[in-house]
Symmetry: C2
Subunit: 196 residues, 2 copies
């Protein structure tokens, strides 16, 4: 395992997930991950600002897919229709082949509060970025933030369902259903106007 083997980042990420899954996140040191792929601890921290970050790659592309979905919606589309478009675009980042990998990664995250915190932070960052994209389309506040956060919530719930044991529907299909449920929930309330 030479000094200039290519793909150091990717090898570190793969080794990290495997070690985290077998030994646990706390019980795995950054030095061990580095050693597993023939690198030093110092190199690990040159690639990832902290130990948790090694599990959160591909965020940039995922976020971009979301934004692309926003921009793909025709002008004058209602905020939630824009969100629906963004969800479909984002879902394409998780084809069915990736499901078992996602399950493994999520089970590691679910067992470690520090990793959960990082994940929530990433999701919050997503909402912030989407809100900005909505404002760029002329949607005001707090509608933009509400729509963006709702989109993130729907995505989160759909993703959780997608990796549940026995689930076979695509993420896109599930996301669509969950968004529908959100509309029913709030729409039904609005229809009868019980709120003063």
């Amino acid at each position: 395992m030479g000094r200039w083997e290519p793909g150091a980042r990717e090898r570190l990420q793969a080794a990290a997930l495997e070690l985290f899954a077998t030994r646990g996140f706390e019980q795995t040191t950054a030095a061990e991950i580095a050693q597993a792929v023939g690198l030093t601890e110092r190199t690990f921290f040159r690639h990832f600002s902290d130990k948790r970050e090694v599990l959160f790659f591909g965020q940039q592309e995922f976020l971009q897919a979301f934004i692309d979905g926003v921009e793909a919606a025709p002008p004058e589309t209602s905020p939630l229709e824009v969100i629906a478009s963004a969800l479909q675009a984002a879902a394409s980042f998780f084809p069915d082949e990736r499901r078992s990998y996602s399950r493994m990664r999520q089970s590691v995250i679910d067992q470690n509060p520090p990793l959960q915190e990082r994940e929530l932070h990433k999701l919050a960052g997503l909402a912030t970025t989407v809100a900005a994209a909505l404002r760029a389309r002329g949607i005001g506040e707090p509608a933009a933030t509400l729509a963006a956060e709702s989109g993130a919530t729907v995505f989160g719930i759909a993703f959780t369902q997608w990796i549940r044991d026995g689930e076979t529907r695509s993420l896109a299909a599930i996301a669509s259903d969950v968004l529908r449920e959100l509309l029913d929930l709030t729409g039904a309330a609005t229809a009868s106007r019980p709120f003063p």
Copy 2:
């Protein structure tokens, strides 16, 4: 400042906020906080599992207020009406006298990603607990989680507005408005049924 002065916890919390606000979170060590109130670093970590936690007290009571609001709603109330009740109860935890304190605390959090992560985690925990309370009322999934997460989102947006410079309305009033906006956003979409 003796070994058995009462209220060690509270004194640590107050000293921590002050030091964080003046020097910054990173630039303040746990030892310094402890020293400021005549205790040792080891004692600090007996009270707070980590350095961030010192800023997140009163969570238990806040969460309880939310749950009380859920349980105060009459049976058969729609999920979002229950959330409206919970929001009003939770808002009572932040009377206007607390606004300037909240502003100071939030400005510290806003400047430190690790603190933001912790805050998001607490908010996510809130949503999880509220969702459980909704399920206990017979509300199914994903409606319970959607409603709870929406409630957390609305609370977050309202709280941000509440501490904004020049804002004078009560948190309860703002939360009510934001919830209304959410209903308009989703209700309008449902009315015209543009989603297949």
